[in-house]
Symmetry: C2
Subunit: 507 residues, 2 copies
Amino acid sequence: MSSSDQQTYERLCHHARQTALLESTRHLLHWDEQTCMPTPAGPWRAEQLAQVAGLLHERQTDPQLGAWLESLSAGPLAQDRHQDAGATIWWLRRQYQKQCRIPASLVEELARASVLGQAAWVEARRTRQYATFKPHLEKIVRLKIEQAEALGYPQCRYDALLDEYEPEASTAEVTQTLDALRRQLVPLVQAIADCGRSAPVEILRRQYAVDSQQQFGRQLATAIGFDFRRGRLDVSAHPFCSGLAPHDCRLTTRYSENHFSESFFGVMHEAGHGIYEQGLSTDAFGMPLGSAVSLGIHESQSRLWENMVGRSPAFWEFAFPIARQHFAQTLADVSLPELHWAVNHVQPSLIRVEADEVTYNLHIIIRFELEQALINEQLTVADLPGVWNEKYRDYLGVTPQHDGEGVLQDIHWSGGALGYFPTYTLGNIYAAQWIAAFRQQHPGWDDDVRRGEFTPLRDWLSQHIFRHGQRFLPAELVQSITGGPISPTALTDYLRGKLAPLYGLSQ
Amino acid sequence: MSSSDQQTYERLCHHARQTALLESTRHLLHWDEQTCMPTPAGPWRAEQLAQVAGLLHERQTDPQLGAWLESLSAGPLAQDRHQDAGATIWWLRRQYQKQCRIPASLVEELARASVLGQAAWVEARRTRQYATFKPHLEKIVRLKIEQAEALGYPQCRYDALLDEYEPEASTAEVTQTLDALRRQLVPLVQAIADCGRSAPVEILRRQYAVDSQQQFGRQLATAIGFDFRRGRLDVSAHPFCSGLAPHDCRLTTRYSENHFSESFFGVMHEAGHGIYEQGLSTDAFGMPLGSAVSLGIHESQSRLWENMVGRSPAFWEFAFPIARQHFAQTLADVSLPELHWAVNHVQPSLIRVEADEVTYNLHIIIRFELEQALINEQLTVADLPGVWNEKYRDYLGVTPQHDGEGVLQDIHWSGGALGYFPTYTLGNIYAAQWIAAFRQQHPGWDDDVRRGEFTPLRDWLSQHIFRHGQRFLPAELVQSITGGPISPTALTDYLRGKLAPLYGLSQ
């Protein structure tokens, strides 16, 4: 390789690092908006975010960057996409080409519309008035269609939006995977409804002091491996994890005194995201080798710790005595099997973030279908609440009493995140594939968990996922770890395996 | 005026507003660094701040901006510096000319050195090891000398740095004012030392539960007029107020259980800054007409509420019953006159932020002299701790036992803020001039305070100071409000008037 190639590559990396710095400033503006900012400052924050989005777009479409990428793409450094330089060049070129297709004005308009849309959504959700949110959503859908058209797509508009969150995925393939999953889940939900047993969910609705929830959540997040010296846990309306900077990963949750699961599994979930972020290369922070592969892979980390670990019988053998220290009175008459069953109850419900592991995926499939219809202009924003309610009746057998527990429940669309939802279920599918592969290699895992020893799983994830950054695409990661393709079978096997004994089903 | 002038002026204002947006992003990075950011993320934050400082400098030295300013300066809009357009053009031109003199590399280097310097200072202060901080301070002093030389100055290097905080002030004039003040204060301190009476300061060192301190501080800050719907109160190592955005003003404080004054008067002080920020025009946020005049004027607001209001007998008639609700046991055997005397005790001490209203100014004079000596290269950073200790012995009769209670106590130099300290005492002087003028016009003020009615003072400040933004320079404000020049007499009169009855001095 010529020394000039090496020099160009170094310049490219320096440029990308500067972009990562600015991107991380953008993330701080967002984090602060959700956790700290006084509400009346929203319009100004929208302008700040639009400005930073514009500056970022300017950097990301810098013609100098394009020239470096073109020159490198033909050379030896770009030969192998699975090597350090090859992966870096491939991803940066992909981003550059995508960014160049979107006009700066659209970038700024989207940034602004997202902040204003979120503020309107918060208000609409509080007052259960879809009308407050409707004009914002109309604008956002219009801008997202514009974005998809600007980006271009192989088969359908939705491909362009999905690609933002799950790179190189296609709507057709995801549809096929989710359909296969649904065909397995619907009879499982039915079998549970028909079995005549119901979980003692009342336990979860008792009084859990918020202080104790905070301590318990922190203690267990620390136990599974989230490093609070390099992170935080705050409160926000919609929980999230933000990997703001190297050594600065922030989780949020929300607490309600009569709802044990919401905060606890929320913290486990976000800590799972955080463990991934903290496990990425700090030297390559914000660069392809120090970034998460996709949102689906990110979600596989949160689901793994929230569900495959956090809802397992072995985990509660470890956690139950600790829970009883924090909630002595509340749990005085509760046995370990009862609590374990309660946190694994399955029952169709209205709110996605409170849904059980099985029906959760049906919530996602509804959103996946609806956002495709919006983007393909087969459904208007005005008709959305009605169709939402119909689908809930058809797929889950439940009907929202108001839009607050219906179409207004999620933050995503208000922030311009259309194409995002399917990554949640992809995350569940990947996570089940990871834990199946890991268990084969670590037959003593349940014993480790009973002792509160979570290092083997973290080390395995680090070795197979974290350390690679974006070296492999999601399907490549699945292939290298499981030896096969993306498939929902591991997820349905895992769910049946856990739920059959609880609900007395045949396996 | 030509319509082209008007167009140019609108472009200028749009440009300045965009700069204000980016500046406010920079402030958020700083606020977060002090309040939320995990320590290991410091080096990355330094890079972020350097990047934003570079982007800001690029905007602030934009040749297009220079062209607009030159063209406008000759026209009718710039005729009167006390009119809206005139003030805006004058200040923007002043900033533009100053910024153009500083190379971008120096701006970025200073931003980086400040963040790293602050991190080193935190560590040095904790371990009381000046050596940890010394190389950073050497670098900072070198960069500030470079900055002063680049900016240029009428008489001495320190003029250039002082001008950053107190625009158009001169070192010679400030020296004269502070000397006059010192000549009055030294005999007052001596008289108090000789009077044989001592305040019951033990009261302030009793146990004050942090929770109750938080509630009490918030309640009183709200009472005097800080609007928490448009602001926050957080915890940081060094208390500050940051007017981050329109409707987003954030205060910080720190709590220790055995130290009533530190947090309470800290909150009153920062709330004073906050009331000024919240009183500035939100439409002109970050523009000359929506910005504070100077740090001295800003400090006059914090001192006014902390001392002239918060340490007055009338205020404690209002606040004492509230304090007894929050600290029932701690204050059970304390009378109102005792508490009032305790919070007005005068005694030479080592720590500036814990100093009383009288000796505080001697702490400032020491720093003012030392930073001039550093900048004029009459004192090395290596010799600084020794000279610090000497001055404390000479001026205050006390000697630090270690550098943690000596030269390492303040954050300012670590963040590159040299030239800042004298604005604290200027603030005391201005505040005394304001309250004297206000009292003449509002003879019933003490009765208002006793009833917890603080609106008359806020309205008066709004009318005479807040609404003008930077329309008037500090000396012009003093002239228009008091009919005379900046003078320490009002401050010494106020101090004697309050302290003489407490310490049995002749007035």
